[in-house]
């Protein structure tokens, strides 16, 4: 592994300053489950590593505020997957967080890191995108928020300015707000990267929002007009609607799957998560 300078700032301001000064030569370290692989393989050779884990202002807390769950920058996938409020209010996020890697990986990987890493196959991103989660960004010019879908600009590209970092994720959640389900296709059942993943979230008015991973460089998000979750929709009508709705997916062929398979799985998975989301909506409303 190439040499680098390692900083473990304790304050947000110091971290922000470092990041601003070093620009693209710096990399942020949170859980490190992706970064360390890239460092070891020499794919990334930063001059500076800024470890966020000692920053007092960055929390690992998961808290419920009015109609939203706030997940701190240092909250791990294990914590997200097992958190009572998340299981109650947005089980889809717990499903997605629990699908990431192994126990060992989930004990280190953070939810915010999963977003900032901006891998097209990230499992939690479809849930956050479909449920309208917002990223809380802190930086030299203060605090701002931005929807998760807008933060991710492309494969491994995010919309943070120099010196900015993600402090928390705010997930809208509350009774009657929406019901969501997560699903994915993998090559094997144990620890794997998704060939395609998706979250379907249905809001109180019956509008279904689908967010897919691994079918485009960015999360692919589409919304229907309320037809899909309607009780009386026939299967051929649903198929036809989905064909139109998902026609913008642009999957690629790679070592994990062909574009054709990914494209076919978009619809299969969408149908399945839609059905689960509809059931969730019927049984409890909200995210239950």
């Amino acid at each position: 592994m190439n040499a680098f300078e390692y900083f473990q700032p304790t304050g947000l301001a110091a971290a922000s300053e470092l990041l601003r000064d070093c620009g693209s030569e710096a990399r942020i370290l949170a859980g490190g489950t992706d970064l360390t692989v890239a460092l070891r393989e020499g794919r990334l050779r930063p001059r500076v590593i800024v470890d966020l884990k000692r920053i007092a202002d960055l929390s690992s807390a998961i808290e419920v505020h009015a109609e939203r769950v706030v997940i701190g920058a240092r909250a791990t996938m294990s914590e997200v997957a097992a958190h009572e409020d998340i299981l109650r209010l947005c089980p889809a996020l717990a499903e997605a967080a629990g699908a990431v890697g192994s126990v060992q990986v989930r004990n280190r990987a953070t939810l915010c890191g999963n977003v900032c890493n901006a891998s097209p196959a990230a499992d939690t991103v479809p849930v956050l995108a479909a449920c309208g989660a917002v990223v809380e960004i802190k930086g030299p010019s203060g605090c701002r928020t931005m929807p998760v879908v807008d933060v991710i600009q492309g494969n491994r590209r995010i919309a943070l300015d120099p010196g900015e970092l993600v402090a928390a994720i705010h997930l809208p959640a509350g009774p009657g707000l929406h019901a969501a389900a997560f699903g994915r296709i993998t090559r094997r059942r144990g620890v794997d990267l998704a060939v395609v993943n998706v979250c379907c979230s249905i809001d109180g008015s019956g509008i279904a929002t689908f967010a897919f991973g691994a079918v485009a460089p960015r999360p692919f998000v589409v919304r229907d007009g309320g037809e899909l979750a309607a009780r009386d929709i026939g299967s051929s009508e649903m198929e036809a609607l989905m064909d139109v709705l998902f026609s913008g997916a642009t999957p690629i062929s790679d070592v994990r799957a062909s574009a054709a398979y990914r494209r076919a799985m978009v619809k299969v998975l969408a149908g399945r998560v839609l059905a689960r989301a509809v059931r969730r909506l019927a049984t409890g409303g909200g995210h239950a």
């Binding site: 990986v105 280190r108 990267l193």
Partner: protein, 951 residues
């Protein structure tokens, strides 16, 4: 922050202050700085879990954590798992339930399993499978681990409640009741019981020393320099920058090796120590860097500049056989070989009867492909050498220390006495740690530098060092309408790599038994071994048989479907029973194979109603056991009644050490606790050919039994001399010396009498199966390894995902000397078979380069990928050539996994498969192909020799 920083942390309960550099990995610091070698390195990407440790109460992959991140943290490794106790309940349960095989994954596995129990004291099956899914075990002792976790989770029963009986004890109790008479006479019986694994305690405590765990003073580290070409002319290699890099001691290329560049190999001396003028496969090293530290060697290797002229590569059967194909090997290397100007390394043909004259009612022809797969032992390959005063010492976790000794002595012109091979227990071998790979290179570096050198490959590099031959096998099978197999006409192409290694023998041995365990009146087998610009294929569990069985068994099913006969009945109809000829003129069937077939069919519930959407499949396979070779053993019975046995076998997880100790224990009446086993050092143990072809129980086991018989003869001599009795009054058997009516155990007899003789009794024994000049394999099979596998499975037709509900395997084992070890071998092989059936394949790009190097995109089964239930059954008729009628058993479980599972999937879906692996995508693709309007019924018979074929 400065380059070095000092930090405090707690490791295994002790406060430590250490200095680390920011770019050091926690795993390296634990292993190299703190000497905690329990955590292991394999994948380096957080997939295998071998490096699992606990940091602040949570399990993490220490390969994915910078050491500086552990500042002020509390780190616990396997070494401290038991606290002040000698072992945790879980560690004990792992041993009791036979969960430990090679042991390399075990430290990490135990960390994960204990963490599960700590957060969930009563986990269900799903929770256990999920919790262990971040820890890969290639021996695949998963089901035993699940059992061990459940056992350790169970609260300690109150004193008067009957305690749950672990599998090992259950098996032992069954055997004990069979041998009740012996036990009443207070005689010790080890054979046939599931005694705990020798070497087990070290493995669960993390103290077993694998190659990478051995320290030598002054050790230098080697890094290979590779290119990203599958084939290219080496224009130039500039090593100057690398030579000047910090810590670098030496950098070599082929030019430093002399002219011609030395070449070696187990059969053909075709592999150069470093790429010679041309890179011939993706990953072939062109240079090697030696430095003071691993990190320095790796950094300097990046500074070596290689200029290449890329050339078209031969990477498939079609490319190898194309009329204008470039030659993979220079014809000058193949002097006198009429095929030297082709990419065909060898052609073989076998057969009997007259295929062309056979009158079949139905002929089915298909071509089946089997992909390149790699061994993926969790211990990456490692090599270490020391050159001192004209003597070469090599450390290599190989399956054949003596063959390595021979190859190295020849290569360096040294007498055998000056080449010592120390073979630490391999952390999984599976054939990949057979035949030399980088030992010559590392030895040369030790000679050049005058210091010991070590090369430990990364997992990616092991993919570029070992693999199974890919195959394309065309099978034409003729059937009678009643389902008799009338002929088999087989053309098999084995795609070897750029150098032959043992690949030609793989093709030969598998093709020779190509028709399988059947009575086939007419057979024609034409087989070729092809060279290509791919990683040299080598020995791999099953030795070509899984590839051959995939084709031949699948084709039998294809015919059976068209005849309206099920997979069980067509096999029962054609399967050879004991004494029936299979290959004409060779050793006939050596087991009651229909018994195994029926047992498997019963266990899978072949004739029972099936839930909708599910299908069943069944298949059989045989592999030829070892055909020739010599195994020697020495057994020493010491004056205090303890025994030491010496064997050149390698214990790579199969448990040879345990079996051998059991044999000695029973033969000499020495308790197992007083038997020690010495292996793995050519300067200490007598010659053994190798640990391969499931030979050790039969060959070395026989040698050991004979060494014990030699001691028996000496005991008789002693008894006659010391007691003054006639020889015919002395009977020695089963650990007893009987003189007239008086019986005494051998150890007691020795303790009482040996002092008059001085010293100890040393017995020697050997088993030799001589070379047979006129046999196509150089010798007949010492035994056949027979297996029957059956599945019940269903398919998600929308996604192509296969769910396996039941997986049954039956081995014809002769006699299980240690039932739990036999089951573990069978299950492990079966799960490895699931790997190549469901998910494993090396993916090549257009230029022949491997696209899925490493653990992220080459998938092997995890604990979550296993069938709902798996049952490893055995037939024990005591009809093998080994001790107590045993046969070899370590490959059977994967011989016919693929055809059996494919048959179940076909039964469930109606589509047939000719290519592996059956990934969700490929199954989906096949399901959709047949939905194309206008396409006929699944598959198609290629011809009917008579007018009225069955409909």
């Amino acid at each position: 922050m400065p380059e070095w920083c000092s930090m405090d942390l707690t490791v295994n309960g002790e406060p430590r202050t250490i200095r680390v550099r920011p770019n050091e990995i926690l795993l390296d610091v634990l292993r190299d700085r703190l000497g905690l070698r329990g955590p292991k390195e394999c994948c380096a990407v957080g997939e295998c879990g071998a490096c699992t440790v606990k940091v602040d109460g949570k399990t993490v992959n220490s390969c994915l954590m910078l050491a500086v991140e552990a500042r002020e943290a509390n780190v616990v490794t396997i070494e401290a798992a038991a606290g002040s106790g000698s072992m945790t309940r879980l560690q004990e349960a792992f041993l009791e339930h036979g969960a430990v095989q090679c042991g390399f994954c075990i430290p990490g596995m135990l960390m994960s399993a204990q963490a599960l129990l700590d957060r969930d004291p009563d986990p269900d099956d799903d929770a256990i499978r999920e919790a262990l899914s971040g820890n890969l075990c290639r021996c695949a002792g998963y089901y035993r681990m699940f059992e061990a976790v459940r056992a350790a989770a169970r609260p300690v029963p109150p004193p008067d409640a009957p305690a749950p009986v672990p599998a090992a004890d259950r098996a032992a109790a069954a055997t004990d009741s069979r041998r009740g008479e012996d036990l009443r006479r207070n005689r010790r019986v080890a054979v046939g019981t599931s005694v705990k694994r020798f070497g087990g305690p070290e493995r669960v405590r993390g103290t077993q020393r694998f190659l990478a765990d051995i320290s030598l003073p002054g050790l230098l580290h080697v890094k290979l320099v590779k290119t990203d070409a599958a084939r290219a002319r080496i224009v130039s290699i500039d090593v100057e920058a690398a030579k000047g890099a910090p810590g670098v001691v030496d950098v070599i290329t082929a030019q430093d090796l002399g002219n011609p560049v030395p070449r070696f190999g187990p059969v053909f001396d075709d592999r150069p120590v470093l790429a010679d003028g041309e890179v011939k496969y993706h990953g072939e090293p062109v240079a090697a860097v030696v430095a003071e530290t691993k990190e320095q060697a790796a950094q300097a290797a990046e500074l070596v500049k290689v200029e290449l002229e890329r050339l078209p590569a031969v990477a498939s059967v079609a490319q190898a056989l194309a009329p204008d194909a470039p030659l993979v090997q220079d014809a000058s290397l193949r002097q006198g070989d009429p095929l030297a100007r082709t990419n065909v390394l060898k052609e073989r043909s076998y057969g009997w009867g007259d295929v062309d004259a056979a009158r079949a009612d139905l002929v089915v022809e298909n071509t089946y492909t089997f992909p390149m797969v790699t061994h993926f032992a969790i211990e990456p390959h490692g090599f270490m050498a020391k050159w001192e005063e004209g003597r070469l010492t090599l450390w290599s976790p190989v399956q054949h220390p003596f063959l390595l000794q021979k190859v190295m002595a020849k290569l360096f012109g040294l007498p055998l006495t000056e080449v010592r091979v120390i073979a630490p227990d391999p952390g999984g071998g599976f054939g990949g740690k057979q035949n030399p790979k980088f030992e010559p290179l590392v030895a040369m570096l030790a000679m050049r530098t005058g210091r010991p050198c070590r090369l430990v490959l990364t997992l990616d590099e092991t993919f570029q060092a070992v693999r199974r031959a890919a195959t394309e096998i065309r099978v034409r099978t003729g059937f009678s309408r009643e389902g008799d197999i009338l002929f088999q006409d087989i053309k098999s192409d084995f795609l070897l790599g750029a150098y032959a290694d043992i690949g030609e023998r793989v093709m030969t041995k598998a093709s020779y038994l190509g028709v399988g365990p059947y009575r086939v009146p007419n057979a024609r087998i034409r087989a070729r071994a092809l060279l290509s610009n791919t990683v040299p294929s080598c020995a791999f569990r099953g030795f070509g048989t899984p590839q051959m069985n995939w084709a031949v068994e699948s084709n039998i099913d294809a015919g059976a479907r068209r005849l309206g006969i099920d997979g069980f009945r067509i096999r029962l109809r054609n399967l050879a029973d004991k004494g029936d000829e299979i290959v004409r003129g060779d050793v006939p069937a050596d087991g009651h194979w229909p018994q195994s077939l029926k047992l498997a069919a019963d266990a899978i519930g072949w004739n029972e109603p099936l839930a909708p959407g599910r299908g069943r499949g069944i298949a059989v396979g045989i592999k030829s056991g070892a055909t020739t070779g010599l195994s020697n053993s020495t057994v020493r019975l010491l004056a205090d009644g303890s025994a030491i046995l010496y064997a050149g076998t390698s214990d790579m997880g199969q448990g040879a050490r345990t079996i051998f100790a059991q044999l000695v224990s029973d033969a000499l009446g020495v308790p197992l606790s007083r038997v020690s086993v010495v292996m793995g050092d050519t300067s200490v143990v007598p010659f053994d050919l190798q640990t391969s072809a499931s030979r050790s129980t039969v060959f070395m086991g026989t040698a050991i039994s004979r060494a014990c018989a030699d001691i028996h003869a000496q005991l008789r001599e002693m008894a006659v001399e010391i007691k003054g009795v006639d020889p015919d009054q002395v009977r020695i058997h089963d650990g007893i010396v009987a003189i007239g009516p008086d019986e005494v155990s051998i150890p007691e007899f020795v303790k009482a009498n040996l002092r008059q003789w001085n010293g100890e009794l040393v017995g020697n024994g050997r088993m030799r199966k001589p070379h047979m000049e006129d046999h196509p394999l150089g010798g007949s099979a010492a035994f056949y390894e027979f297996n029957c596998t059956a599945f019940e499975a269903e398919v998600d037709e929308k996604t192509g995902e296969i769910t396996i509900h039941k997986h049954i395997l039956v081995g014809d084992v002769g006699k299980a000397l240690n039932p739990v070890q036999v089951e573990a071998q069978d299950e492990g092989a079966a799960i490895m078979g699931l790997g190549h059936t469901l998910m494993e394949h090396m993916v090549l790009d257009q230029e022949g380069r491997i696209r899925n190097l490493g653990a992220i995109d080459y998938r092997i089964p995890t604990s979550r990928d296993l069938p709902g239930t798996m049952q490893a059954l055995m037939v024990e008729n005591g009809d093998g050539p080994g001790p107590y009628g045993s046969k070899g058993v370590s490959e059977g479980g994967l011989l016919c996994t693929a055809p059996a599972l494919a048959a179940a999937v076909t039964a469930a879906t109606g589509v047939e498969f000719q290519s592996l692996p059956l990934t969700p995508e490929r199954v989906w693709l096949k399901l959709n192909e047949t939905e194309i309007p206008g396409s006929g019924p699944v598959g198609r018979p290629v011809g009917m020799d008579r007018k009225q074929g069955p409909t």
